[in-house]
């Protein structure tokens, strides 16, 4: 809404400007994102991932008073004192000191009604920081079904903040929640909820005052810093908990004061770490006794029954393996028909354009550059959708954490955390969300190892390359009458990536990222029916990001490549000669000496160069190159695969591709780091160029070495 009025005139922002945003926080699995989606609908600004991590998702909600407010969806967190990078983001935004994010006017804290005690820990922390809070008591339906009755009026009274019952999955309570978020009626909570022992309280208050005086912190930040200064031990360099953006607290006098305060509390036998936690839980228990009544333990019965099977020492593993198999078969078979449909669509579009336009450079550009290039990549949208469909079901249902639970020991063998399994599985779809998912790994080193090997998982961008090469060069043949050779080749590529990733993990853990094993403290939420809405949102989100990419980056690369392969014009040359003389042909020839030992000629070189930034571009490049290089009528319906098989050097008569070349190319693409977006995301997540450079270097060396060995070995045994 233009102008951003503040309905009751309360000073929301610093100068009556736009309404300050509302931050949405909550424990993991509290249904926070579902509430966010229910409030904002599709009016979300989804972060664009090349170069930008999805740190905060923003959405707009129209409130009953007519105002429009920005909501920020923050990563799930258990506490305002963070233990992992994503928790750090949540607490920094809430405290209003995250760069380029306005101080939230209010915080919407989503609390799982079926798991109230632990969820209230974060909520009461917010209240004790004197941050204006509205509580959404979410999954109230689950709590009721489990025999938990909550006196909501009483709870709101005890906490001193508005509490609204919601069930995001059915939309229950959402209008009331919007009404509560509107206006500025609820200010800061009146009082702290729990009492510290007198000495601790005194030191804490004194320190807060000093921080306010010396650094001009807002009260919430002063309280936060005072508690963290008092509770940490002097020698503990708690790097995850410290905000990089917060001003360094280095005033000598203040630090001396902190030391005296710590010594005093230690002398009194007060455990400075637990004093801030145990008192809070004791108070929460009191509140729950007043407001919550339960009848029996019906809540988890079904979930427990499922767990007896799904985390069983034998069945658990078998089911896990079966699920993974189903997932991959599903992705390939389900996506096949829509893919054929899209391909046919782009083919006929090309044919229509060819028929209606006069011949010339513009027609060539459209048909051979734009339509062929973008079409080749858009074909893979169904696969991406199918993969994210499965991954979001696994995540939404609660199975992902069980998978981490049963895989932790296995992953531990190569020094990885059980939680690393989730980002790695996600990387089969795309390394970018996979790398972003590593934020749930608390240890910096474990996280770094996972990030370094995630790009070795065969992502969906490699699929087009594999699919094209397998369809063209691997024969339709059933081993033992039932195992398709083509399918096995595909599986082999995945296995190659996994084996290399595990080997590299071990290597990294032994060298650059040596460190002791870190904690595996992870919640196992009850199983839930995945919500079609949230699955739909994730698929839509991923699909759009990919299409946006295809419409911008890949379109641009396609046009440039078409230009490079069509110019400079050579008069009277055959298409083959023309390609050879073009800029692209010259670049391909330039790198030919380096790639010839891998079995790649200059034409493939053009593909390698073209896909340096994005591996799936290889397919569209091949589409462009072999369309141009084709002597006959390019619209005659000869498939790209056939053109690649037939293509040969006019002088030597040697085919561009052999089966060995195709295998080598697949190995190259399985192991090399040809994805600018991944490099960009790693740079962002690690805040520097060191790790992205290491990533590019090691993967290139790995890919070159392996492809070289396979090619030379293949030649020795008479392949190719």
């Amino acid at each position: 809404m233009a102008g951003g009025r503040n309905p009751d005139g309360r000073a929301g922002g610093a100068s009556g400007g736009p309404i300050p945003p509302i931050a949405v926080v909550g424990n993991p699995n509290s249904g926070k994102t579902a509430i966010f989606n229910a409030l904002t609908g599709l009016r979300q600004k989804v972060a664009n991932y090349p170069g930008v991590t999805i740190e905060k998702k923003e959405g707009r909600a129209r409130l009953p008073d007519g105002s429009e407010v920005v909501l920020i969806d923050l990563p799930g967190t258990y506490s305002l004192f963070p233990h992992s990078p994503d928790e750090l983001i949540a607490s920094e935004v809430v405290l209003g000191r995250y760069p380029a994010t306005p101080v939230p006017g209010k915080v919407l804290c989503v609390v799982d009604a079926s798991n109230l005690e632990r969820n209230l820990y974060l909520a009461t922390q917010l209240i004790d920081h004197r941050i204006p809070v509205v509580i959404a008591l979410n999954m109230i339906d689950v709590a009721e079904a489990g025999g938990i009755t909550i006196d909501i009026g009483r709870l709101s009274e005890e906490l001193g903040v508005p509490v609204l019952p919601t069930a995001a999955s059915s939309g229950r309570g959402i209008p009331e929640l919007k009404a509560a978020l509107a206006g500025g009626a609820n200010g800061e909570p009146a009082a702290r909820l729990f009492e510290l022992p007198e000495a601790a309280q005194r030191e804490c208050t004194l320190l807060e005052g000093e921080l306010l005086r010396l650094y001009g912190f807002r009260p919430a930040v002063a309280h936060h810093e005072a508690v963290s200064l008092l509770s940490s031990s002097p020698e503990a360099a708690d790097t995850t908990g410290r905000s990089p953006s917060a001003p360094a607290i280095n005033d000598e006098e203040l630090l001396a004061r902190v030391k005296t305060a710590r010594d005093k509390l230690d002398f009194l036998g007060i455990d400075r770490q637990s004093v801030f936690i145990e008192g809070r839980y004791a108070r929460i228990r009191q509140i729950c006794e007043k407001c919550v009544s339960t009848n029996g333990f019906a809540g988890r019965r079904l979930s427990d029954a499922l767990d007896r099977v799904l985390t069983h020492r034998v069945w658990g593993f078998l089911i896990f393996m079966a699920l993974m198999t189903v997932m991959f078969i599903g992705v390939f078979t389900w996506a096949e028909y829509p893919m054929q449909f899209i391909t046919a669509g782009f083919d006929s579009l090309g044919a229509i354009v060819s028929d209606t336009m006069p011949p010339g450079d513009l027609r060539d550009l459209l048909v051979r550059g734009v339509i062929a290039g973008v079409g080749a990549v858009v074909t893979f949208v169904p696969q991406i959708l199918a993969l994210f469909f499965f991954i979001s079901i696994l995540e939404d249902s609660g199975y992902m954490s069980r998978a981490a639970f049963i895989m932790d020991k296995v992953m531990g063998k190569v020094g990885l955390h059980g939680k690393a399994f989730i980002p790695l599985l996600g990387s089969f779809a795309c390394a970018i969300p996979g790398i972003m998912a590593t934020r749930t790994i608390e240890s910096g080193k474990d996280r770094m190892v996972t990030m370094m090997i995630a790009p070795l998982m065969s992502c969906s961008a490699r699929l087009p390359v594999y699919t094209l090469l397998i369809a063209a060069f691997i024969p339709h043949y059933l081993i033992l009458g039932f195992l398709p050779l083509q399918g096995l080749t595909m599986a082999a590529m995945y296995v190659l990536g996994i084996v290399m990733a595990l080997a590299m993990a071990l290597l990294f853990k032994k060298t650059l990222l040596r460190g002791k094993k870190l904690s595996f403290v992870m919640e196992l939420p009850p199983y839930r029916m995945p919500s079609p809405r949230s699955i739909g949102m994730i698929m839509l989100d991923r699909g759009l990001v990919f299409l946006k990419n295809a419409g911008t980056f890949i379109l641009g690369v396609s046009i440039i490549l078409w230009f490079l392969s069509a110019y400079p014009k050579v008069d009277g040359a055959t298409p083959q000669e023309q390609l050879e003389q073009s800029y692209a042909g010259r670049a391909g020839k330039l790198i030919e000496p380096a790639i010839l030992p891998l079995g790649f000629n200059w034409k493939i070189g053009i593909g390698l160069i073209g896909s340096l930034l994005q591996r799936e571009v290889f397919v569209s490049t091949m589409g462009t190159i072999f369309n141009i290089g084709n002597d006959g009528d390019p619209e005659s319906g000869v498939s790209l695969q056939e053109r690649m098989v037939r293509d040969r050097d006019p002088e030597t008569g040697v085919n561009s591709f052999s089966v060995l070349t195709a295998i080598c190319l697949m190995i190259w693409y399985a192991l090399s780091m040809q994805c600018m977006s991944t490099v960009a995301i790693v740079r962002r997540e690690t805040a520097g160029w060191k790790w992205p450079v290491i990533l590019i270097a090691y993967m290139t060396i790995l890919a070159y070495t392996f492809t070289f060995l396979v090619h030379q070995g293949g030649l020795l045994i008479g392949m190719g």
Binding site: H83, R262, S274, E278, D304, D307, K517
Partner: protein, 111 residues
């Protein structure tokens, strides 16, 4: 079992040695005759937390923030195969932790 927590006192002047060099051994909280480490409990076993070791480590902080505080009730739901993590029930929800982590939590089984 609820009232136990409320009356729980955090200050125990006689139990901690003064100074920052206090050891991280189990602090005395009531009767610890039956206290065993959490990882040694069999599946289905449980009791009341008597101490969380590891001094002021981030792990200790996190365990406490997740509700594993002195006096809270814990039950071992299951143990993953081959020495994998264990699953516990605490404050009405489920948490998994590795055995080495569970070793820092002492439990009074009440026997």
């Amino acid at each position: 079992m609820f009232t136990l927590l409320i009356t729980k006192k955090i200050m125990k002047p006689e139990s901690g040695k003064p100074g920052p060099d206090r050891t991280d051994g189990p602090r005395i909280a009531g009767d610890t005759n039956g206290a065993v480490s959490l990882d040694s409990l069999p599946g289905g076993g449980g009791g009341t937390v008597t101490s969380i070791g590891g001094d002021s480590t981030p792990l200790r902080q996190r365990l406490m923030e997740l509700g594993i505080t002195i006096g809270s009730d814990i039950r071992v739901v299951r143990k993953a195969p081959f020495g994998g993590p264990i699953e516990i029930a605490v404050r009405g929800y489920r948490l998994s932790l590795r055995r080495a982590e569970a070793r820092t939590v002492m439990i009074d089984t009440g026997v």
